[in-house]
């Protein structure tokens, strides 16, 4: 940090020298010893600064995350002093200093300048061996530099200072929280060999497929004696039960990180980034983490990809460690301009594809249509949060309105084509311990939301429950045109 900072006399040393000289000259000229006496402290300070120019300490501090949340989204950081060498810990140095009979490092001071994002700088003046916890606001999810800082030191008589040394900013990664378990719509073409879903293939699952005469290869434990007695009056053939195989589902989550739409519409036009972390990207992270956790808890395989194409896709896999991988990858998603891809993402065969997007441009809709046409179960998750209409000018209001109208048309076209689009914002507002049954749709009384304005959209929990019921009921059948209209 400040190790290696150069020490120098402070500007106060020169001021003290000037004041002392003025006092002495004025006193001698006017013949008043009292005026000369005024120079005494300043002259002593000048002497003090002159004699200790080589002995001043170089301050150094470090701020690190304390891994403790202090409620209401505040993270606890710990500011600790570092020894001049920088290699030991502060505790070690203190122990060494105590052992050396010098408990305090020359009582020098350190001034730490703290700057939270989009905030003016604050100062924190401490004794050089003092620690101090700090509380900073963190967003709901994502990776962010929560605090920039630097330090400068000065001797206790303020005559010697060290140069201000900036330190690397404190970066934290906030994993998206998991909501309540959601229903799990699965494809009718499950290709896995283990799992909790009933596939359309014959196998060792629990759901009855048919009762048929025993043939070579049938296991003896499959003989259904009641069916045999009922159907084979002459007892000349044995009837066996044949079941469907169980299979796991494959799910591909696609995150659109091209935009991060803040909840406050005034912030749409701000040049600074959304610091509250409650924008559409946070909604997407939370909703995707919730869906991933629900599928992985059922033993299914979940993959993760993004529309920007900047990172390698996370292949479909299952297990608790994979959930942590997904959450970490989700936390690392930031706004990245969309670039031209050589080819579109390819979902695994028989996968459920969920696209989490703000639907501000036609690209997510195009991919949804493409995968829908390929026979995948596709779901669009609208991640625009509940909007607060705070536009500052008529031009802004018009821009917001046009954007919302464009979104509305886009979403209506998707729904008309049988592609369900659910609201992810409701999943975010649901408490982690509430089930999807308790999650209500968006739109609190007194607040204006675009979903209220442009037609209701089901929340993620309810929509996935309806979709799961539909895909389960229509197993092996192509849904008739228009039946998908029941879903938004």
């Amino acid at each position: 940090m400040a190790n290696g900072a150069e020490t120098a006399r402070s500007p106060g040393w020169a001021v003290a020298l000037i004041i002392a000289l003025v006092c002495i000259v004025a006193g001698l000229v006017s013949g008043r010893p009292e005026t000369v006496a005024l120079a005494a402290p300043f002259a002593l300070l000048v002497l003090s600064g002159r004699s200790t120019v080589d002995g001043a300490q170089e301050p150094s501090v470090r701020i690190a995350a304390d891994r403790r949340m202090e409620g209401s989204g505040r993270l606890r950081l710990l500011l600790t002093s570092l020894p001049p060498g920088g290699a030991h810990t502060a505790e070690t140095t203190r122990a060494e200093q105590s052992a050396a009979g010098n408990a305090r490092p020359a009582s020098s001071l350190v001034a730490v300048t703290l700057a939270a994002p989009a905030c003016p700088a604050d100062a924190l003046v401490l004794r050089a061996d003092e620690d101090c916890p700090l509380l900073v606001d963190v967003p709901g999810s994502g990776e962010i530099a929560v605090l920039s800082y630097g330090s400068a030191g000065f001797s206790a008589d303020l005559m010697i200072t060290t140069a201000f040394v900036p330190a690397p900013a404190v970066r934290v990664t906030i994993l998206p929280q998991l909501g309540g378990t959601v229903a799990l719509p699965v494809s009718r073409r499950l290709s896995g060999v283990t799992g909790s879903h009933t596939s359309r293939r014959p196998g060792e699952g629990g759901e009855l497929r048919s009762i048929a005469p025993m043939q070579p290869g049938d296991q003896l434990r499959r003989i259904d004696w009641r069916a045999t007695a009922r159907r084979s009056a002459d007892q000349d053939r044995l009837m066996v039960r044949r079941n469907f195989a169980d299979a796991e589902a494959s799910v591909l989550l696609i995150i659109d990180q091209g935009h991060d739409l803040p909840a406050s519409t005034e912030d749409w036009f701000s040049s600074t980034t959304d610091l509250t972390g409650q924008g559409s990207l946070h909604v997407a992270r939370t909703a995707a983490a919730t869906v991933a956790a629900s599928y992985l808890a059922a033993g299914d395989r979940v993959g993760l990809d993004d529309l920007s194409g900047t990172r390698r896709a996370l292949r479909t896999a299952s297990g608790g460690r994979h959930l942590e991988q997904i959450r970490t990858r989700l936390a690392g998603t930031a706004v990245v301009p969309r670039r031209r891809r050589r080819r579109d993402p390819v979902p695994p065969q028989g996968a459920v594809v969920l696209v989490f997007s703000a639907f501000l441009d036609p690209e997510p809709a195009r991919l949804l249509r493409l995968w829908h046409a390929q026979g995948h179960v596709v779901v669009g998750v609208d991640c625009v949060p509940q909007l607060e209409r705070t536009e500052a000018s008529p031009a802004q209001a018009l821009t917001v309105r046009l954007t919302l109208v464009r979104r509305r048309l886009l979403l209506e076209n998707l729904r008309a084509e049988g592609i369900p689009v659910l609201s992810g914002a409701a999943a975010r507002s649901a408490a982690p311990h509430t089930t999807s049954r308790d999650a209500r749709g968006p739109g609190l009384p007194g607040t204006t939301t675009d979903t209220e304005e442009f037609g209701a959209a089901l929340d993620l929990g309810s929509g996935l429950r309806l979709l799961a019921r539909r895909t389960g009921r229509g197993a092996g059948q192509t849904p008739a045109p228009g039946t998908t209209r029941s879903l938004p």
């Binding site: 001021v15 003025v22 009292e34 050396a100 703290l114 924190l124 705070t390």
Partner: protein
């Protein structure tokens, strides 16, 4: 539609007790400056000038303002105050304290905190210097009162010189003990 003047971010705040807001220190500094200015410019219409400069120096990070404020106080003392003014030691202490507080606030942002331990660390060298500055102020008063009495003046100078030498020697001995203790362990 209403715009808010507050910054969009939220400041980092210290999570422990024993810290004083810098605004308290700034107010104390301005108060000391106003009091000293009020004393030396009492009865004059120009009193507004050092007061404004003192308050400005406590708020704005300017070395020039600090020097101007201190020079206004010193020069006005030399011009306005009568000989043998009994509050000279208090004025010397106040001037020193004002200078230290100005220096403390000079490189710092406007908003912040300072720990009580840091203030104590600042107070220690202040008191150490005052242990020498106060006898000098008393000696100046003594010389002013009994300027014609050579014996009194010589005795006063000798006492202050002896006191200064004793303080310096005591500090040197303490530092030597510390060095010896450190190397032996």
């Amino acid at each position: 539609m209403a715009r808010t003047a507050q910054p969009p971010g939220v400041r980092a705040i210290p999570g422990r007790a024993g810290l004083i807001p810098l605004w308290t220190v700034r107010c104390a500094t301005a108060l000391i400056g106003v009091l000293l200015g009020g004393v030396v410019w009492a009865g004059s219409a120009w009193i507004a000038l050092p007061l404004v400069v003192a308050v400005g120096a406590a708020i704005l990070p300017s070395t020039g303002l600090v020097a101007l404020s201190l020079l206004l106080l010193v020069v006005s003392y030399a011009v306005n105050m009568p000989d043998g003014w009994p509050w000279l030691p208090v004025f010397v202490a106040g001037l020193h304290a004002l200078f230290i507080l100005y220096l403390l606030l000079l490189p710092l942002p406007r908003h912040g905190w300072i720990s009580i331990l840091a203030l104590r660390a600042l107070a220690l060298p202040y008191l150490r210097l005052q242990a020498l500055a106060q006898p000098v102020a008393f000696l100046a008063l003594l010389v002013d009162d009994a300027g014609s009495n050579l014996v009194v003046v010589v005795a006063g100078v000798a006492a202050v010189s002896g006191w200064s030498l004793w303080l310096v020697r005591r500090r040197a001995l303490r530092q030597a003990d510390r060095v010896v203790g450190g190397t032996s362990t």
